[in-house]
Amino acid sequence: MKNRRTAFVLPPVLVGIIGLALWEGAVTVFEIKEFLLPKPSSIWARLIEEWGVLRHATWETGKIAISGLLIGILLGVLLALITNRFKVLNDGLTPFAIAINATPIVALAPIFNVWFGLTGTFSNQAVVIAVVFFPVFINTAKGLNEVHPNEIELMHSYASGDWTILREVRIPNALPFFANSLRLAAPLSVIAAIVAEYFGGPQDRIGNVITSSAGFAKYDVAWAAIAMASGLGLLLFGSALVTERLSMPWRISGDIKDN
Protein backbone atom coordinates (compact mmCIF):
# COMPACT_ATOMS: atom_id res chain seq x y z
CA MET A 1 0.00 0.00 0.00
CA LYS A 2 2.74 2.42 1.00
CA ASN A 3 4.70 1.55 -2.12
CA ARG A 4 1.68 2.04 -4.33
CA ARG A 5 1.07 5.47 -2.83
CA THR A 6 4.70 6.46 -3.41
CA ALA A 7 4.46 5.19 -6.98
CA PHE A 8 1.35 7.31 -7.41
CA VAL A 9 2.80 10.51 -5.96
CA LEU A 10 6.39 10.34 -7.16
CA PRO A 11 6.00 10.81 -10.96
CA PRO A 12 3.96 14.05 -10.83
CA VAL A 13 6.28 15.49 -8.15
CA LEU A 14 9.31 14.68 -10.29
CA VAL A 15 7.74 16.13 -13.41
CA GLY A 16 6.81 19.25 -11.43
CA ILE A 17 10.33 19.79 -10.15
CA ILE A 18 11.89 19.17 -13.57
CA GLY A 19 9.33 21.49 -15.17
CA LEU A 20 10.11 24.32 -12.75
CA ALA A 21 13.85 23.80 -13.26
CA LEU A 22 13.48 23.91 -17.07
CA TRP A 23 11.34 27.06 -16.78
CA GLU A 24 13.93 28.74 -14.56
CA GLY A 25 16.78 27.65 -16.87
CA ALA A 26 15.01 28.68 -20.08
CA VAL A 27 14.19 32.18 -18.81
CA THR A 28 17.84 32.65 -17.78
CA VAL A 29 19.48 31.11 -20.87
CA PHE A 30 17.24 32.74 -23.47
CA GLU A 31 17.19 36.01 -21.54
CA ILE A 32 13.42 36.20 -21.63
CA LYS A 33 12.18 39.55 -20.34
CA GLU A 34 10.70 39.36 -16.84
CA PHE A 35 7.46 41.02 -17.98
CA LEU A 36 6.90 38.27 -20.56
CA LEU A 37 7.65 35.37 -18.26
CA PRO A 38 9.19 35.82 -14.81
CA LYS A 39 11.39 33.09 -13.31
CA PRO A 40 9.74 30.75 -10.79
CA SER A 41 12.27 32.01 -8.24
CA SER A 42 11.20 35.66 -8.65
CA ILE A 43 7.52 34.68 -8.49
CA TRP A 44 8.30 32.81 -5.28
CA ALA A 45 10.16 35.83 -3.88
CA ARG A 46 7.18 38.08 -4.64
CA LEU A 47 4.80 35.57 -3.11
CA ILE A 48 6.69 35.82 0.18
CA GLU A 49 7.05 39.59 -0.06
CA GLU A 50 3.38 40.27 -0.84
CA TRP A 51 2.09 37.42 1.34
CA GLY A 52 -0.21 39.65 3.42
CA VAL A 53 -2.06 41.06 0.41
CA LEU A 54 -2.13 37.76 -1.46
CA ARG A 55 -3.33 35.76 1.54
CA HIS A 56 -6.16 38.21 2.15
CA ALA A 57 -7.13 38.26 -1.55
CA THR A 58 -7.09 34.45 -1.77
CA TRP A 59 -9.14 34.16 1.39
CA GLU A 60 -11.80 36.59 0.10
CA THR A 61 -11.95 35.01 -3.36
CA GLY A 62 -11.97 31.57 -1.73
CA LYS A 63 -14.98 32.50 0.39
CA ILE A 64 -16.92 33.54 -2.72
CA ALA A 65 -15.86 30.44 -4.67
CA ILE A 66 -16.62 27.99 -1.85
CA SER A 67 -19.92 29.56 -0.78
CA GLY A 68 -21.00 29.81 -4.43
CA LEU A 69 -19.93 26.19 -4.96
CA LEU A 70 -21.95 24.95 -1.98
CA ILE A 71 -25.06 26.96 -2.90
CA GLY A 72 -24.78 25.84 -6.54
CA ILE A 73 -24.47 22.19 -5.45
CA LEU A 74 -27.43 22.50 -3.12
CA LEU A 75 -29.65 24.10 -5.77
CA GLY A 76 -28.51 21.66 -8.47
CA VAL A 77 -29.20 18.60 -6.32
CA LEU A 78 -32.54 19.98 -5.11
CA LEU A 79 -33.77 20.70 -8.62
CA ALA A 80 -32.54 17.27 -9.78
CA LEU A 81 -34.58 15.61 -7.01
CA ILE A 82 -37.65 17.68 -7.85
CA THR A 83 -37.47 17.02 -11.60
CA ASN A 84 -37.00 13.32 -10.87
CA ARG A 85 -40.38 13.29 -9.10
CA PHE A 86 -42.11 15.00 -12.01
CA LYS A 87 -41.27 13.52 -15.37
CA VAL A 88 -42.82 16.42 -17.35
CA LEU A 89 -40.56 18.87 -15.56
CA ASN A 90 -37.54 16.71 -16.26
CA ASP A 91 -38.33 16.32 -19.97
CA GLY A 92 -39.06 20.03 -20.29
CA LEU A 93 -36.08 21.40 -18.38
CA THR A 94 -33.20 19.09 -19.27
CA PRO A 95 -32.71 20.26 -22.90
CA PHE A 96 -32.59 23.88 -21.75
CA ALA A 97 -30.21 23.09 -18.91
CA ILE A 98 -27.89 21.31 -21.36
CA ALA A 99 -28.09 24.23 -23.81
CA ILE A 100 -27.36 26.81 -21.09
CA ASN A 101 -24.55 24.65 -19.73
CA ALA A 102 -22.94 24.71 -23.18
CA THR A 103 -22.83 28.52 -23.19
CA PRO A 104 -19.95 30.24 -21.36
CA ILE A 105 -21.77 31.37 -18.26
CA VAL A 106 -18.85 33.50 -17.00
CA ALA A 107 -19.63 35.79 -19.95
CA LEU A 108 -22.72 36.77 -18.00
CA ALA A 109 -20.62 38.42 -15.26
CA PRO A 110 -21.12 42.03 -16.51
CA ILE A 111 -24.85 41.39 -16.85
CA PHE A 112 -25.01 40.00 -13.32
CA ASN A 113 -23.33 43.22 -12.15
CA VAL A 114 -26.23 45.15 -13.62
CA TRP A 115 -28.79 42.79 -12.11
CA PHE A 116 -27.37 42.40 -8.63
CA GLY A 117 -25.27 45.59 -8.23
CA LEU A 118 -21.56 46.26 -7.91
CA THR A 119 -21.43 47.17 -4.26
CA GLY A 120 -21.70 43.75 -2.64
CA THR A 121 -20.20 40.38 -3.46
CA PHE A 122 -23.44 38.81 -4.57
CA SER A 123 -22.91 39.53 -8.28
CA ASN A 124 -19.66 37.57 -8.19
CA GLN A 125 -21.16 34.82 -6.09
CA ALA A 126 -24.09 34.57 -8.51
CA VAL A 127 -21.67 33.86 -11.38
CA VAL A 128 -20.12 31.01 -9.35
CA ILE A 129 -23.55 29.63 -8.43
CA ALA A 130 -24.67 29.65 -12.07
CA VAL A 131 -21.46 27.99 -13.26
CA VAL A 132 -21.72 25.25 -10.63
CA PHE A 133 -25.45 24.73 -10.77
CA PHE A 134 -25.81 23.48 -14.34
CA PRO A 135 -23.30 20.62 -14.43
CA VAL A 136 -24.40 19.46 -10.96
CA PHE A 137 -28.08 19.55 -11.93
CA ILE A 138 -27.61 17.84 -15.30
CA ASN A 139 -25.40 15.05 -14.00
CA THR A 140 -27.33 14.38 -10.81
CA ALA A 141 -30.63 14.30 -12.70
CA LYS A 142 -29.08 11.84 -15.15
CA GLY A 143 -27.87 9.60 -12.31
CA LEU A 144 -31.27 9.62 -10.63
CA ASN A 145 -32.92 8.66 -13.93
CA GLU A 146 -30.56 6.14 -15.42
CA VAL A 147 -31.42 3.19 -13.25
CA HIS A 148 -31.56 -0.29 -14.81
CA PRO A 149 -35.23 -1.24 -15.32
CA ASN A 150 -34.64 -4.59 -13.57
CA GLU A 151 -33.62 -2.72 -10.42
CA ILE A 152 -36.93 -0.85 -10.40
CA GLU A 153 -38.83 -4.10 -11.05
CA LEU A 154 -36.93 -5.72 -8.20
CA MET A 155 -38.00 -2.95 -5.83
CA HIS A 156 -41.61 -3.27 -7.02
CA SER A 157 -41.39 -6.98 -6.27
CA TYR A 158 -40.62 -5.95 -2.68
CA ALA A 159 -43.77 -3.79 -2.78
CA SER A 160 -41.59 -0.67 -2.39
CA GLY A 161 -42.98 2.78 -3.17
CA ASP A 162 -41.33 5.71 -4.96
CA TRP A 163 -39.69 7.10 -1.81
CA THR A 164 -38.03 3.81 -0.94
CA ILE A 165 -36.85 3.46 -4.54
CA LEU A 166 -35.46 7.00 -4.40
CA ARG A 167 -33.60 6.30 -1.16
CA GLU A 168 -32.38 2.78 -1.89
CA VAL A 169 -31.75 2.92 -5.64
CA ARG A 170 -31.85 6.31 -7.31
CA ILE A 171 -29.77 8.34 -4.86
CA PRO A 172 -26.93 5.80 -4.49
CA ASN A 173 -27.04 5.32 -8.26
CA ALA A 174 -26.66 9.08 -8.76
CA LEU A 175 -23.65 9.40 -6.45
CA PRO A 176 -20.96 8.66 -9.07
CA PHE A 177 -22.65 11.05 -11.54
CA PHE A 178 -22.79 13.71 -8.84
CA ALA A 179 -19.13 13.11 -7.99
CA ASN A 180 -18.16 13.60 -11.64
CA SER A 181 -19.98 16.91 -11.74
CA LEU A 182 -18.24 17.93 -8.52
CA ARG A 183 -14.80 17.28 -10.01
CA LEU A 184 -15.82 19.57 -12.85
CA ALA A 185 -17.53 22.22 -10.74
CA ALA A 186 -14.98 22.59 -7.94
CA PRO A 187 -12.15 24.11 -10.05
CA LEU A 188 -14.73 25.92 -12.21
CA SER A 189 -15.95 27.77 -9.13
CA VAL A 190 -12.50 29.39 -8.67
CA ILE A 191 -12.27 30.29 -12.36
CA ALA A 192 -15.76 31.81 -12.24
CA ALA A 193 -15.02 33.82 -9.10
CA ILE A 194 -11.82 35.29 -10.58
CA VAL A 195 -13.31 36.12 -13.98
CA ALA A 196 -16.26 37.75 -12.21
CA GLU A 197 -13.80 39.85 -10.21
CA TYR A 198 -12.25 41.13 -13.46
CA PHE A 199 -15.58 42.83 -14.15
CA GLY A 200 -16.26 44.41 -10.78
CA GLY A 201 -17.09 43.98 -7.14
CA PRO A 202 -14.81 44.67 -4.17
CA GLN A 203 -11.20 45.48 -5.16
CA ASP A 204 -9.20 43.33 -2.72
CA ARG A 205 -9.61 39.99 -4.50
CA ILE A 206 -7.34 37.71 -6.52
CA GLY A 207 -8.91 38.83 -9.77
CA ASN A 208 -8.24 42.48 -8.94
CA VAL A 209 -4.69 41.78 -7.74
CA ILE A 210 -3.98 40.11 -11.09
CA THR A 211 -5.48 42.93 -13.22
CA SER A 212 -4.02 45.80 -11.20
CA SER A 213 -0.53 44.23 -10.90
CA ALA A 214 -0.50 43.60 -14.64
CA GLY A 215 -1.69 47.17 -15.17
CA PHE A 216 1.25 48.51 -13.14
CA ALA A 217 3.69 46.18 -14.93
CA LYS A 218 4.23 44.17 -11.75
CA TYR A 219 4.01 40.91 -13.65
CA ASP A 220 5.74 38.84 -10.99
CA VAL A 221 3.02 39.84 -8.49
CA ALA A 222 0.36 38.92 -11.05
CA TRP A 223 2.04 35.55 -11.46
CA ALA A 224 2.20 35.06 -7.71
CA ALA A 225 -1.54 35.76 -7.53
CA ILE A 226 -2.14 33.25 -10.33
CA ALA A 227 -0.13 30.68 -8.35
CA MET A 228 -2.35 31.32 -5.32
CA ALA A 229 -5.47 30.96 -7.48
CA SER A 230 -4.29 27.66 -8.90
CA GLY A 231 -3.52 26.49 -5.34
CA LEU A 232 -7.09 27.35 -4.39
CA GLY A 233 -8.46 25.49 -7.43
CA LEU A 234 -6.35 22.43 -6.60
CA LEU A 235 -7.50 22.52 -2.99
CA LEU A 236 -11.16 22.47 -4.03
CA PHE A 237 -10.53 19.77 -6.64
CA GLY A 238 -8.75 17.70 -3.98
CA SER A 239 -11.68 18.14 -1.58
CA ALA A 240 -14.01 16.92 -4.31
CA LEU A 241 -11.86 13.79 -4.78
CA VAL A 242 -11.72 13.09 -1.04
CA THR A 243 -15.50 13.50 -0.75
CA GLU A 244 -15.90 11.08 -3.64
CA ARG A 245 -13.66 8.46 -2.05
CA LEU A 246 -15.31 8.71 1.34
CA SER A 247 -18.87 8.59 0.08
CA MET A 248 -18.37 5.61 -2.25
CA PRO A 249 -16.19 2.95 -0.62
CA TRP A 250 -17.43 0.36 -3.12
CA ARG A 251 -15.76 2.20 -5.99
CA ILE A 252 -12.23 1.91 -4.62
CA SER A 253 -12.43 -1.81 -4.02
CA GLY A 254 -14.12 -2.24 -7.40
CA ASP A 255 -10.88 -2.90 -9.24
CA ILE A 256 -9.98 -6.27 -7.72
CA LYS A 257 -12.61 -8.17 -9.72
CA ASP A 258 -11.54 -11.61 -10.84
CA ASN A 259 -13.65 -13.33 -13.41
Binding site: N150, L154, Y158, P172, M248, W250, G254, N259
Partner: protein
Protein backbone atom coordinates in the same frame (compact mmCIF):
# COMPACT_ATOMS: atom_id res chain seq x y z
CA UNK B 1 -61.11 -24.52 4.41
CA UNK B 2 -61.59 -28.02 3.05
CA UNK B 3 -63.16 -26.77 -0.16
CA UNK B 4 -60.16 -24.58 -0.75
CA UNK B 5 -57.59 -27.30 -0.29
CA UNK B 6 -57.49 -27.99 -4.01
CA UNK B 7 -56.86 -24.30 -4.73
CA UNK B 8 -54.17 -24.08 -2.10
CA UNK B 9 -51.85 -26.44 -3.84
CA UNK B 10 -51.96 -24.32 -6.98
CA UNK B 11 -49.03 -21.96 -6.73
CA UNK B 12 -50.06 -20.13 -9.89
CA UNK B 13 -53.31 -20.26 -11.80
CA UNK B 14 -53.80 -18.23 -14.98
CA UNK B 15 -57.14 -18.09 -16.78
CA UNK B 16 -57.76 -16.63 -20.24
CA UNK B 17 -55.08 -13.99 -19.76
CA UNK B 18 -54.37 -11.50 -22.58
CA UNK B 19 -51.75 -8.81 -22.64
CA UNK B 20 -51.83 -5.97 -25.14
CA UNK B 21 -49.11 -3.31 -25.11
CA UNK B 22 -49.98 0.24 -26.25
CA UNK B 23 -53.65 -0.58 -26.89
CA UNK B 24 -55.52 1.54 -29.46
CA UNK B 25 -52.34 3.04 -30.91
CA UNK B 26 -50.27 2.48 -34.03
CA UNK B 27 -47.75 0.33 -32.22
CA UNK B 28 -50.30 -1.86 -30.50
CA UNK B 29 -48.80 -5.29 -29.77
CA UNK B 30 -50.76 -8.34 -28.75
CA UNK B 31 -48.11 -9.90 -26.51
CA UNK B 32 -50.14 -12.73 -25.00
CA UNK B 33 -53.45 -14.27 -26.02
CA UNK B 34 -55.70 -16.65 -24.09
CA UNK B 35 -53.14 -17.98 -21.65
CA UNK B 36 -54.30 -20.78 -19.35
CA UNK B 37 -51.66 -22.22 -17.06
CA UNK B 38 -51.62 -24.01 -13.71
CA UNK B 39 -48.48 -24.43 -11.70
CA UNK B 40 -48.53 -26.77 -8.71
CA UNK B 41 -46.60 -26.05 -5.54
CA UNK B 42 -43.15 -27.57 -5.68
CA UNK B 43 -43.09 -27.66 -9.50
CA UNK B 44 -40.17 -26.47 -11.58
CA UNK B 45 -41.67 -24.91 -14.72
CA UNK B 46 -39.72 -23.50 -17.65
CA UNK B 47 -41.19 -21.05 -20.13
CA UNK B 48 -39.47 -21.38 -23.50
CA UNK B 49 -40.14 -20.00 -26.95
CA UNK B 50 -38.66 -17.89 -29.74
CA UNK B 51 -38.06 -14.22 -29.02
CA UNK B 52 -41.26 -12.23 -29.06
CA UNK B 53 -43.32 -15.13 -27.70
CA UNK B 54 -44.06 -13.20 -24.52
CA UNK B 55 -42.36 -15.54 -22.04
CA UNK B 56 -40.89 -12.68 -20.01
CA UNK B 57 -44.23 -10.86 -20.22
CA UNK B 58 -45.98 -13.95 -18.84
CA UNK B 59 -43.49 -14.06 -15.94
CA UNK B 60 -44.22 -10.40 -15.22
CA UNK B 61 -47.97 -11.05 -15.14
CA UNK B 62 -47.36 -13.62 -12.41
CA UNK B 63 -45.10 -11.11 -10.63
CA UNK B 64 -47.72 -8.34 -10.98
CA UNK B 65 -45.05 -6.18 -12.59
CA UNK B 66 -47.46 -6.06 -15.53
CA UNK B 67 -51.25 -6.20 -15.38
CA UNK B 68 -53.15 -8.43 -17.84
CA UNK B 69 -55.41 -6.66 -20.32
CA UNK B 70 -57.98 -9.41 -19.81
CA UNK B 71 -58.26 -12.60 -17.78
CA UNK B 72 -57.15 -13.55 -14.33
CA UNK B 73 -53.85 -14.35 -12.62
CA UNK B 74 -53.92 -15.96 -9.18
CA UNK B 75 -50.88 -16.67 -7.05
CA UNK B 76 -51.45 -18.97 -4.07
CA UNK B 77 -55.18 -18.37 -4.46
CA UNK B 78 -54.82 -14.57 -4.17
CA UNK B 79 -54.77 -11.91 -6.86
CA UNK B 80 -51.28 -11.41 -8.27
CA UNK B 81 -51.33 -7.89 -6.83
CA UNK B 82 -52.04 -9.15 -3.31
CA UNK B 83 -49.34 -11.80 -3.69
CA UNK B 84 -46.82 -9.14 -4.67
CA UNK B 85 -47.80 -6.94 -1.74
CA UNK B 86 -47.47 -9.98 0.56
CA UNK B 87 -44.10 -10.73 -1.06
CA UNK B 88 -45.04 -14.30 -1.86
CA UNK B 89 -42.37 -14.53 -4.54
CA UNK B 90 -38.69 -13.74 -5.03
CA UNK B 91 -37.32 -12.61 -8.36
CA UNK B 92 -34.04 -13.15 -10.21
CA UNK B 93 -33.14 -11.34 -13.45
CA UNK B 94 -30.56 -11.93 -16.17
CA UNK B 95 -28.93 -8.68 -15.12
CA UNK B 96 -28.24 -9.65 -11.50
CA UNK B 97 -29.68 -6.36 -10.22
CA UNK B 98 -27.28 -6.40 -7.29
CA UNK B 99 -26.62 -2.94 -5.93
CA UNK B 100 -23.01 -1.84 -6.39
CA UNK B 101 -23.11 0.16 -3.18
CA UNK B 102 -24.07 -2.75 -0.96
CA UNK B 103 -21.68 -5.55 -0.13
CA UNK B 104 -22.84 -9.14 -0.60
CA UNK B 105 -24.47 -9.49 2.85
CA UNK B 106 -26.15 -6.10 2.60
CA UNK B 107 -27.55 -7.04 -0.82
CA UNK B 108 -29.01 -10.24 0.57
CA UNK B 109 -30.40 -8.36 3.56
CA UNK B 110 -32.10 -5.64 1.48
CA UNK B 111 -35.57 -7.27 1.31
CA UNK B 112 -35.35 -8.10 5.03
CA UNK B 113 -34.39 -4.51 5.80
CA UNK B 114 -37.40 -3.28 3.85
CA UNK B 115 -39.59 -5.65 5.88
CA UNK B 116 -38.20 -4.14 9.09
CA UNK B 117 -36.28 -7.16 10.38
CA UNK B 118 -33.84 -6.52 13.24
CA UNK B 119 -30.15 -6.38 12.44
CA UNK B 120 -29.38 -9.59 14.32
CA UNK B 121 -32.12 -11.52 12.49
CA UNK B 122 -30.97 -10.14 9.15
CA UNK B 123 -27.38 -11.15 9.74
CA UNK B 124 -28.38 -14.62 10.90
CA UNK B 125 -30.49 -15.12 7.78
CA UNK B 126 -27.91 -13.75 5.37
CA UNK B 127 -25.36 -16.18 6.85
CA UNK B 128 -27.78 -19.06 6.23
CA UNK B 129 -28.38 -17.90 2.66
CA UNK B 130 -24.67 -17.52 1.96
CA UNK B 131 -24.22 -21.05 3.17
CA UNK B 132 -27.04 -22.21 0.88
CA UNK B 133 -25.39 -20.67 -2.19
CA UNK B 134 -21.88 -21.53 -0.90
CA UNK B 135 -20.44 -18.02 -0.83
CA UNK B 136 -19.75 -17.70 2.92
CA UNK B 137 -16.26 -16.26 2.44
CA UNK B 138 -17.47 -13.51 0.09
CA UNK B 139 -19.93 -11.80 2.43
CA UNK B 140 -17.93 -8.55 2.65
CA UNK B 141 -17.16 -8.30 -1.06
CA UNK B 142 -18.85 -5.80 -3.31
CA UNK B 143 -20.74 -7.15 -6.35
CA UNK B 144 -18.18 -5.76 -8.78
CA UNK B 145 -15.53 -7.94 -7.19
CA UNK B 146 -17.48 -11.11 -8.03
CA UNK B 147 -17.69 -13.15 -11.25
CA UNK B 148 -20.99 -13.32 -13.15
CA UNK B 149 -21.84 -16.75 -11.74
CA UNK B 150 -21.15 -15.64 -8.18
CA UNK B 151 -23.28 -12.53 -8.70
CA UNK B 152 -26.20 -14.70 -9.81
CA UNK B 153 -25.79 -16.88 -6.73
CA UNK B 154 -26.01 -13.78 -4.53
CA UNK B 155 -29.05 -12.73 -6.52
CA UNK B 156 -30.69 -16.14 -5.84
CA UNK B 157 -29.77 -15.88 -2.14
CA UNK B 158 -31.38 -12.44 -2.00
CA UNK B 159 -34.54 -13.70 -3.74
CA UNK B 160 -34.87 -16.58 -1.27
CA UNK B 161 -33.83 -14.66 1.86
CA UNK B 162 -37.37 -14.03 3.05
CA UNK B 163 -38.39 -17.62 2.24
CA UNK B 164 -40.95 -16.94 -0.50
CA UNK B 165 -42.82 -20.03 -1.71
CA UNK B 166 -42.33 -19.02 -5.33
CA UNK B 167 -39.17 -18.11 -7.22
CA UNK B 168 -39.51 -16.27 -10.56
CA UNK B 169 -36.42 -16.31 -12.75
CA UNK B 170 -36.03 -14.34 -15.99
CA UNK B 171 -33.22 -15.92 -18.04
CA UNK B 172 -31.02 -15.87 -14.94
CA UNK B 173 -28.11 -17.74 -16.54
CA UNK B 174 -28.41 -16.15 -19.98
CA UNK B 175 -25.26 -14.05 -19.59
CA UNK B 176 -23.05 -16.82 -18.20
CA UNK B 177 -20.54 -18.92 -20.11
CA UNK B 178 -21.54 -22.50 -20.84
CA UNK B 179 -19.51 -24.22 -18.10
CA UNK B 180 -20.65 -21.78 -15.37
CA UNK B 181 -24.15 -22.13 -16.66
CA UNK B 182 -24.22 -25.92 -16.34
CA UNK B 183 -22.71 -25.66 -12.88
CA UNK B 184 -25.34 -23.10 -11.84
CA UNK B 185 -28.11 -25.38 -13.13
CA UNK B 186 -26.96 -28.19 -10.83
CA UNK B 187 -26.68 -25.71 -7.96
CA UNK B 188 -30.17 -24.36 -8.62
CA UNK B 189 -31.66 -27.87 -8.57
CA UNK B 190 -29.95 -28.54 -5.24
CA UNK B 191 -31.37 -25.29 -3.81
CA UNK B 192 -34.79 -26.14 -5.25
CA UNK B 193 -34.69 -29.56 -3.55
CA UNK B 194 -33.45 -28.15 -0.24
CA UNK B 195 -36.00 -25.33 -0.05
CA UNK B 196 -39.02 -26.89 -1.78
CA UNK B 197 -39.70 -23.57 -3.52
CA UNK B 198 -41.86 -23.52 -6.65
CA UNK B 199 -39.83 -22.19 -9.59
CA UNK B 200 -40.94 -20.50 -12.81
CA UNK B 201 -37.92 -20.18 -15.08
CA UNK B 202 -37.78 -18.26 -18.37
CA UNK B 203 -35.10 -19.46 -20.78
CA UNK B 204 -34.31 -19.70 -24.47
CA UNK B 205 -32.02 -22.67 -24.02
CA UNK B 206 -33.49 -26.05 -24.92
CA UNK B 207 -31.05 -28.19 -22.85
CA UNK B 208 -31.45 -25.85 -19.90
CA UNK B 209 -35.25 -26.17 -19.95
CA UNK B 210 -35.09 -29.95 -20.36
CA UNK B 211 -32.47 -30.43 -17.65
CA UNK B 212 -34.12 -28.27 -14.98
CA UNK B 213 -37.85 -28.63 -15.37
CA UNK B 214 -40.61 -30.92 -14.26
CA UNK B 215 -42.66 -29.27 -16.99
CA UNK B 216 -41.58 -27.25 -20.03
CA UNK B 217 -44.17 -24.79 -21.34
CA UNK B 218 -43.55 -23.99 -25.02
CA UNK B 219 -44.89 -20.66 -26.29
CA UNK B 220 -45.50 -19.55 -29.86
CA UNK B 221 -45.02 -15.93 -30.94
CA UNK B 222 -47.20 -13.09 -32.27
CA UNK B 223 -49.43 -13.31 -30.41
CA UNK B 224 -47.87 -15.29 -27.56
CA UNK B 225 -49.84 -18.45 -26.89
CA UNK B 226 -49.13 -21.68 -25.09
CA UNK B 227 -48.30 -24.22 -27.80
CA UNK B 228 -47.69 -27.25 -25.62
CA UNK B 229 -46.70 -28.43 -22.18
CA UNK B 230 -44.06 -31.14 -22.01
CA UNK B 231 -43.65 -33.15 -18.82
CA UNK B 232 -40.09 -34.17 -18.06
CA UNK B 233 -39.02 -36.71 -15.47
CA UNK B 234 -35.28 -37.11 -15.19
CA UNK B 235 -35.35 -37.86 -11.44
CA UNK B 236 -32.31 -36.78 -9.47
CA UNK B 237 -30.09 -34.88 -11.87
CA UNK B 238 -26.33 -34.56 -11.83
CA UNK B 239 -23.87 -33.56 -14.52
CA UNK B 240 -23.97 -37.22 -15.67
CA UNK B 241 -27.66 -36.78 -16.52
CA UNK B 242 -26.56 -34.72 -19.53
CA UNK B 243 -25.25 -37.91 -21.14
CA UNK B 244 -28.41 -39.85 -20.26
CA UNK B 245 -30.60 -41.00 -23.21
CA UNK B 246 -33.63 -39.77 -21.24
CA UNK B 247 -32.16 -36.25 -21.26
CA UNK B 248 -31.52 -36.55 -25.00
CA UNK B 249 -35.11 -37.63 -25.47
CA UNK B 250 -36.41 -34.68 -23.45
CA UNK B 251 -34.35 -32.12 -25.38
CA UNK B 252 -35.53 -33.70 -28.65
CA UNK B 253 -39.14 -33.39 -27.56
CA UNK B 254 -38.72 -29.72 -26.63
CA UNK B 255 -36.79 -29.05 -29.85
CA UNK B 256 -39.50 -30.60 -31.98
CA UNK B 257 -42.17 -28.53 -30.25
CA UNK B 258 -40.13 -25.39 -30.93
CA UNK B 259 -39.72 -26.36 -34.60
CA UNK B 260 -43.45 -26.83 -34.87
CA UNK B 261 -43.86 -23.37 -33.35
CA UNK B 262 -41.38 -21.83 -35.82
CA UNK B 263 -43.13 -23.54 -38.74
CA UNK B 264 -46.26 -21.74 -37.52
Amino acid sequence: MRENSENLEEAVSIRAADKVFNPDSDNEVQALLGINLDIKEGDFISLIGPSGCGKSTLLRLIADLLVPTAGQVKVFGKTANQARLDQDYGMVFQHSGLFDWRDVSANIELPLELKGWSKADRQARSREMLELVRLEEFKDHYPRQLSGGMQQRVSIARALSFEPRLLLMDEPFGALDEMTREHMQVELLRIWRETGTTVVFVTHSIPEAAFLSSKVVVLSPRPGRIHSEITVDLGDRTDQTRQDPKFFQATTEVREALRAVEAG
